[in-house]
């Protein structure tokens, strides 16, 4: 009897799911299926050289932090780029899409799944307001709006705002920093190229207290309709580690190697000195 009841519940659930699925009018939404690639080199503004060449509009305080980061990187360190330990990019850096992304559009949520570090964005398009008491996350909390620009009868533009990120985060591997207060707001306009539907544009504006003004860049992703998807689990084989304030690399046999010239070994204060 209990079994029959369970089956009935399942059948009812399926009916409801099917009804919901039928309510989703796919023709109202753009075709963003397939694999979207930007690929390396990962620099924030694709139109400018990396590092100082990005001309990031940093405040004096954060410009000094960026310069100190560059000096550390020149010596073999990682500066203010935190991702070498497998910390996710977070927003907005995730949209560098070092490895490809897939976009899944559902009526209430659009999902952006980025192969690199298995990063997932949920963009809520159900008209909700910003939640209260939400814990911050690297990818932040995203609310989107579908827009039919030009009255075509079909949505062709997704506007997204993302808030409530946590850090540490940087714009790209050169270590261009975001403010440690994590008050970043990211605004995006995502749409297909009018002349080539295999190009997807993302105009990204970052508002952050490390910047003197909003910083807008445009990413242009290329569609691959026959994609190869590869699992990307960063902790699988990452030999780069941080001990104290220093980064080291593991050797082939699993021992610490210095990453910098003349780098001192880590502090072993909690090990018995007689231990060899």
């Amino acid at each position: 009897m209990r079994y029959r009841s369970s089956m009935a519940s399942l059948a009812l659930a399926l009916c409801i799911t099917t009804a919901s699925a039928n309510a989703f009018d796919e023709s109202k939404y753009p075709d963003w299926t397939g694999q979207w690639r930007l690929g390396p080199p990962a620099k924030w503004d694709p139109t400018k050289p990396p590092g100082r060449g990005q001309q990031a509009p940093l405040t004096a305080e954060y410009h000094a932090i960026f310069e100190a980061n560059l000096a550390d990187q020149a010596a073999g360190g990682q500066g203010t780029d935190p991702t070498y330990t497998c910390i996710p990019d977070g927003m907005p850096r995730a949209m560098n899409v070092v490895f490809p992304m897939e976009i899944v559009i559902l009526p209430k949520t659009t999902y952006i799944m980025i192969e690199y570090l298995s990063m997932l964005r949920r963009i809520y398009t159900d008209g909700r307001d910003w939640p209260k008491g939400q814990e911050p996350s690297f990818m932040g909390y995203s609310i989107g709006n579908w827009i039919d620009e030009g009255g075509t009868g079909q949505y062709n533009l997704l506007e997204v705002e993302t808030r409530n990120m946590k850090g540490p985060r940087a714009f790209d591997p050169s270590g261009i920093p975001l403010h440690s207060d994590n008050q970043t707001i990211v605004k995006e306009r995502i749409y297909l190229d009018k002349a080539n539907s295999d190009i997807l544009h993302d105009e990204i504006t970052t508002i952050d207290n490390a910047l003197t003004r909003p910083w807008t860049v445009t990413k242009n992703y290329r569609r691959d309709r026959n994609p190869i998807w590869i699992e990307s689990i960063c902790t699988e084989a990452n030999p780069h580690i941080r001990l104290g304030k220093e980064n080291y690399m593991l050797s082939a046999d699993g021992y610490l190697m210095p990453a910098k010239k003349n780098q001192q070994p880590p502090d072993l204060r909690y090990f018995s000195q007689s231990q060899k």
């Binding site: 690929g39 390396p40 020149a74 010596a75 991702t83 699992e231 084989a237 030999p239 910098k260």
Partner: protein
């Protein structure tokens, strides 16, 4: 340490571009100005994330063998260059140009463009 290495100054700029292209993290720990060529025997090929690794046994001029830990592109990029987890096997003899660790320790970064079997055959689908 006396490794039998040849510095490839002329190709430095090309390789710098290739290494920077990997971009999971800053590659400043690797000497991008002074690439070196290693000839050795593959001990293990790790087709892993966030990077692939070749553990390469290289004999120095003094006759000692050291295993180098060589960081390459992630499978996500290697696959698109025609590489699989079976592309390199233990015992394969290869010649590979790398950017060594600035510290001088036996580690470095490599790119498919500058890797070939010792007999000159290309590896994977590389050029």
């Amino acid at each position: 340490m006396g490794w039998k290495l040849s510095a490839l100054w002329t190709s430095g700029m090309l390789l710098s571009t290739s290494i920077a292209a990997m971009a999971h993290h800053s590659f400043a720990m690797f000497d991008q100005e002074n690439p070196i060529e290693l000839t050795g025997t593959v001990q293990e090929f790790k087709y892993t994330s966030p990077h692939s690794y070749i553990l390469l046994a290289v004999m120095g001029q003094d006759g000692t063998t050291v295993i180098w830990n060589l960081e390459g592109q992630a499978p996500s990029l290697l696959a698109r260059d025609g590489w699989t987890s079976q592309t390199l096997k233990p015992g394969d003899e290869i010649i590979i140009t790398i950017h060594p660790l600035q510290s001088g320790a036996p580690g470095g970064a490599w790119n498919v463009i500058r890797a070939k079997f010792k007999d000159g055959r290309p590896i994977g689908g590389n050029r």
